[in-house]
């Protein structure tokens, strides 16, 4: 299996630069599929904070990457995830999968995102109208994971 690039980032990152570097590392791939999640603007949200737990969060992301690589024929896989405080339009998560053929890349990125949303050790709170509020998991996230 190719190695995965898995990082838990405490500072802002540049998704375009990361994706360009990832693509350049995998010239043998015929397709690259990526997903970028960003802080949604609206509903009065001023800030978002993702908290992580050192002993679990990054190791869990690494296991997810291994499971994704084991399931599809990929040339490369990148999973970047922020923690800490972010503002509307800031990037939160970037997943990219490269493969010889596009179907594997689409499925792998989709699989990795569904599991990041429902299974990864992150806790999220939002600040709106000056008040911080913890966000509970959505039923839709569990339903998305159950597709696999």
């Amino acid at each position: 299996m190719p190695p995965a690039d898995v990082r838990l980032l405490g500072d802002p990152f540049d998704p375009a630069a990361e994706l360009a570097a990832f693509t350049a590392r995998h010239p043998q791939a015929g397709g690259v599929v990526s997903f970028l999640g960003q802080v949604r603007e609206g509903d009065g949200v001023e800030a978002l904070e993702l908290r992580q737990y050192g002993p679990l969060t990054l190791p869990g992301m690494q296991r997810l990457a291994e499971a994704t690589l084991a399931r599809w024929a990929l040339e490369g896989l990148m999973i970047l995830h922020r923690h800490g405080r972010m503002h509307p339009a800031d990037p939160i998560v970037l997943v990219a999968a490269s493969a010889r053929h596009r179907r594997d890349a689409f499925a792998a990125a989709d699989f990795a995102m569904d599991h990041l949303k429902s299974d990864s050790w992150f806790w999220k709170r939002e600040k709106a109208d000056g008040q911080w509020r913890w966000i509970e998991p959505r039923e839709q996230d569990y339903a998305d994971r159950a597709r696999w």
Partner: protein, 79 residues
């Protein structure tokens, strides 16, 4: 020496702090010395526990020794 409780997500607000040093011992005794409202939150059905970074399959029979770290993990909401 002491053991440590770590509170993640909304449990940090319930506890009023991200972590707490406690006297080592059986978890039931440790919880009995906390604010009862907090203890109820920590024992919530959907709260998972991790002892020194390893998830516990169940909450019964946990005994904390000096230097142990027990984390209380409410349902995640990431991505």
């Amino acid at each position: 020496m002491a053991a440590r409780l770590v509170f993640l997500g909304r449990l940090e607000d319930a506890a009023g702090m991200p972590e707490m040093a406690i006297e080592p011992g059986a978890l039931e005794q440790v919880l009995a010395r906390l604010d009862p409202a907090l203890a109820v939150e920590l024992l919530g059905e959907r709260v998972r526990l991790a002892l020194n970074g390893a998830l516990l399959p169940e909450t019964g029979g946990v005994i904390l020794a000096d230097g142990d770290e027990l984390a209380f993990l409410p349902p995640v909401s990431g991505g």
